[in-house]
Subunit: 227 residues, 2 copies
């Protein structure tokens, strides 16, 4: 039902920066420039791997009002993992799509104890099916991240029709889909007509010669496609 709503008053996709730094100070330097330009700050998987939930708490301390995603890709112990990141100030947390259903359910339950706006996103990696997606919805999970992984990118796998079809089908099922993986501002036009939850970029923002200009190019592209 959210989708029908979306089709008539399609919400403009959010812009999300993935802070895929290897240490918190590096992430904060990027956030200092990019925070005012984006809707969602993401403590990337690598930063979670390097410094854990401590990084989430530190970014939250500097940016109290942003949507803050902990891209933990949790695969087990969903409840404890969620407790770690939501108590540190996360708004959203990711679980990996291959996590057992009880892990996802436990994570969502803890998320909601921190507030209705707290949420769990399912990272779509490797093999998953639309039957899984139906099961996630039945568990109460409403968000997914369609991810063209960096290793898949490096192996030369590009965006194609099958990506767009899968995203569309997830959206039609009622899932709020964020999109990531080597996106450029020019790529965004391909997604027009789809109520994407958020477009996520990492190094192409914070690694740009002019990060602010790079973020504004994404924002222009979003405004052009979702007026």
């Amino acid at each position: 039902m959210n989708i029908k709503e979306g089709n008539t008053h399609m919400k403009r996709p959010l812009l999300q920066v993935a802070l895929d730094h290897l240490d918190t100070p590096g992430a904060l330097e990027s956030a200092r420039l990019l925070g005012p330009e984006v809707d969602v700050l993401e403590v990337g998987t690598l930063l979670c791997y390097a410094e854990g939930a401590r990084a989430v708490r530190t970014v939250r301390a500097c940016w109290p009002d942003h949507i803050l995603l902990a891209d933990l890709k949790a695969a087990d112990a969903g409840g404890v993992a969620a407790e770690l990141v939501f108590s540190a100030g996360a708004t959203w947390m990711t679980v990996i799509c291959s996590a057992p259903y009880p892990t996802m359910e436990a994570a969502l339950k803890v998320a909601k104890t921190y507030g209705e706006d707290r949420d769990i996103q399912v990272e779509l990696y490797g093999d998953w099916t639309f039957d899984h997606a139906r099961a996630w919805l039945d568990l109460g999970l409403q968000q997914a991240v369609y991810h063209r992984g960096r290793d898949a990118q490096a192996a030369g796998k590009g965006w194609d029709e099958s990506d767009l079809e899968k995203i569309n089908r997830l959206v039609e099922m009622g899932i709020h889909v964020s999109v990531t993986g080597g996106l450029t501002p020019d790529d965004l036009a391909q997604f027009r007509g789809i109520p994407v939850k958020a477009f996520i970029a990492g190094r192409s923002l914070y690694g740009a010669d002019d990060p602010v200009a790079a973020a504004r190019a994404f924002s222009r592209s979003i405004r052009a496609g979702w007026s």
Copy 2:
């Protein structure tokens, strides 16, 4: 071929403690007692989530000679994740079974730059198939962790024949399989005849009234089954 070797001179399974603490000092308290009793120290997923690779470096500083596993369950960016934990002193690192093949391959490549004994283990979570296992072997991955997840345990899923059949089939393919998930010393008898790489226990060791005695009960059970 390792398996045939295993069948004639079956190596005794290793005993591994999963330090699933939420902070490094807690893990070190447990390691102080359990280090002398076990072969493998594991920086558990939760500790990785809480404190990142920093926890690996700290445990390594205290225990220079143990096999040290970073149970990161990496799902992306295998090369960088591996660089983080192997430079911190890990011997083994886990990737999640749903990680893209290039992620696994990149992780293994980095592992081997740190030494021939460094290795990547595939965590068997959620949906995987023996076709996947064949592909892992083709990539050069030789270790997997058969995991009855804690959330699955909590949902009442026990060890059964289908677990043992799957483990046997993986071993017959040539994969070195570690086993974990709510194991008790009594459970180990079920695995007799299988050249298990390591039996992994966490809270049942460090949470026991007498952790040393608990570890020794596992060791006795291993010696009884694999003489």
